[in-house]
């Protein structure tokens, strides 16, 4: 087995701390500007234009799971992932980028800042509280992302796993708390340049390394011929399950934050569609690296094989860049999740329940403390992922989509929606998900996210129709601490 640590040079040891220091500098540079009010802290005063929107959305969305998780899933499932996840995700998200994003930017009032605000705006406060469960889900997923960075730093540098996670979490927490979305957007652009640039160079270097498709196919056929079939080693239900998880961008708070932070609605449509073009290409490169690792290093653990391919393929100098890209991928996602989760907790729960008269400056101050606390929690949650993160997004993305997709997307456009219908559908879907996954253990092998998604639609529409006469139909103005910002 190749000694990965021997490839890590002194230059790489210098470049990583310098990179982290630059991120901290950006955070403090925007501290004053971000601290003016909640809109500047959470939405960067709605100033993001196409290139910045593209950079920040892509860097936030294509993260360490896309780098390591997708690669290791390809090791197991083959080109199946291209057909039922990578390409599908682009096609199913066209309506989100082209119509829903611009609609949210232009039609949703400025005081609707967080996703619970949006649920409260479309339905009522009760449903918005249920929407808070997203914060917990995102926290668990952020733990998987931090674990990925700890693991790669441990593999290639020998740094203790826990220390790598603590350093990465601390740097993200500090610059996010200081500069809010300003620092997140700027650092995301830098991070996407590193991520896309190094993945692009890796694609060029992979060709001679594996001998093109001919060499790759020959090696994979020996391992398992199904790896080269579109249906791969999966089955139809699993294929649909992966496709459902690709819809998660419709319900992820990151999307709605970026839509609201755009300068114009046309910037959203152009920026998000372009982001998908570049993002699916980035994902496809990771699938290709996963296939190469299966072909060349079948006896290694998938994650180790993945990094062995990266470090063997890339020339000296670019190796450190790719590790920095993973660091960037994690940080650019975790910073957004820190920001969204802390603002939701403080604005929609702490202020609403305990301090309704809280000023905006106090809200931002408390928000910063909560980001630090969240950071500690994330490091603790990494314990859940020591078995590997290859299925992290299948479960987390699938959960978010299955529970929230129907009420959120229907709520934006369907005039027959009711607050009671939404509340019933959300609670019933949460109960159904737990029952199907944890108690019944996925009966008939039917994926939980797909079953819950269908169940959610079956409950939501009849519940709305049955409760329309109760007088709760129509939009309810948000009361979760947002109205004073209007």
């Amino acid at each position: 087995m190749m000694d990965l640590r021997s490839m890590w040079s002194a230059w790489d040891w210098i470049s990583l701390p310098v990179y982290l220091a630059i991120l901290l500098y950006v955070g403090f540079k925007f501290k004053e500007r971000a601290g003016k009010n909640l809109e500047s802290f959470f939405l960067a005063n709605r100033c993001l234009t196409v290139p910045i929107l593209l950079g920040t959305a892509a860097a936030s969305w294509y993260e360490s799971w896309t780098v390591v998780g997708l690669g290791t899933s390809a090791w197991e499932l083959g080109i199946f992932l291209i057909f039922f996840y990578v390409a599908v995700q682009a096609l199913v998200r066209i309506p989100l980028a082209t119509w829903i994003g611009p609609y949210v930017r232009d039609s949703i009032p400025a005081h609707v800042v967080t996703l619970p605000d949006l649920i409260a705006y479309l339905y009522d406060k009760k449903s918005a509280y249920v929407g808070g469960v997203m914060v917990v889900t995102i926290a668990i997923y952020s733990g998987a992302l931090l674990f990925a960075i700890g693991e790669v730093l441990h593999l290639v540098t020998g740094l203790p796993l826990f220390l790598g996670m603590v350093i990465a979490g601390a740097v993200v927490g500090i610059y996010t708390a200081a500069g809010g979305l300003y620092s997140v957007a700027v650092t995301d652009c830098v991070q996407w340049v590193i991520m896309a640039g190094s993945a692009g160079l890796a694609a060029f270097h992979l060709y001679p390394f594996v001998g093109g498709w001919e060499g790759l196919s020959k090696a994979l056929v020996v391992q398992d011929p199904r790896l080269l079939s579109p249906i791969g080693t999966g089955n139809v239900l699993e294929a649909i399950g992966w496709s459902v998880s690709a819809l998660a961008l419709y319900v992820h708070p990151t999307s709605y934050q970026r839509f609201s932070a755009a300068r114009r609605s046309s910037d959203v449509a152009i920026g998000f569609n372009l982001m998908q073009v570049f993002g699916i290409t980035f994902s496809a490169v990771m699938v290709m690296i996963g296939l190469c690792s299966r072909a060349l290093y079948p006896t290694l653990k998938p994650a180790t094989g993945f990094w062995t391919v990266i470090l063997s393929t890339l020339p000296a100098g670019l190796r450190g860049l790719f590790v920095a890209a993973l660091t960037a991928a994690v940080m650019s996602t975790v910073d957004t999740e820190f920001l969204i989760s802390s603002t939701t907790l403080v604005k929609n729960f702490y202020k609403e329940i305990f301090r309704p008269t809280m000023s905006e400056s106090d809200l931002i101050r408390v928000n910063r403390y909560v980001i630090y606390l969240y950071c500690v929690l994330m490091v603790g949650l990494t314990q859940l992922w020591y078995g590997g993160i290859s299925r992290a997004w299948y479960y987390i993305g699938g959960f978010l989509t299955s529970v929230f997709f129907v009420p959120l997307v229907a709520g934006l456009f369907w005039k027959g929606r009711t607050a009671s219908g939404c509340f019933i559908a959300l609670v019933a879907s949460l109960v159904f998900y737990s029952l199907w996954e944890f108690i019944l253990g996925q009966p008939f092998g039917f994926p939980t996210n797909l079953a819950t998604w269908l169940f959610s639609a079956l409950v939501y529409f009849p519940a709305c129709l049955l409760t329309q006469k109760s007088g709760k139909a129509g939009r309810v103005e948000p009361t979760m601490g947002g109205s004073e910002n209007a």
Binding site: F83, A90, L91, T98, S266, F278, M288
Partner: protein, 65 residues
């Protein structure tokens, strides 16, 4: 930006997205070697677009408001 020009750019971005999805599926299905270079080129263009675009936008004062 005039409305017609916006529609053109939005349509163009959607067309690129559909093309790239179909291209990737076709290339992985037919095992076409070109995909290695196409993916590399697209990603390097993406890095340049965001990097240069960011510098231009900052010079135009996007963060000054």
């Amino acid at each position: 930006m005039p409305k017609q020009e916006k529609s053109t750019w939005v349509s163009l971005s959607v067309i690129m997205l559909v093309f790239q999805s179909l291209f990737l599926m076709w290339a992985f299905l037919t095992k076409c070697d070109v995909v290695f270079f196409e993916m590399g080129t697209v990603l390097i263009i993406s890095a340049l677009y965001v990097g240069v675009g960011y510098v231009i936008e900052v010079a135009r004062g996007v963060f000054r408001n």
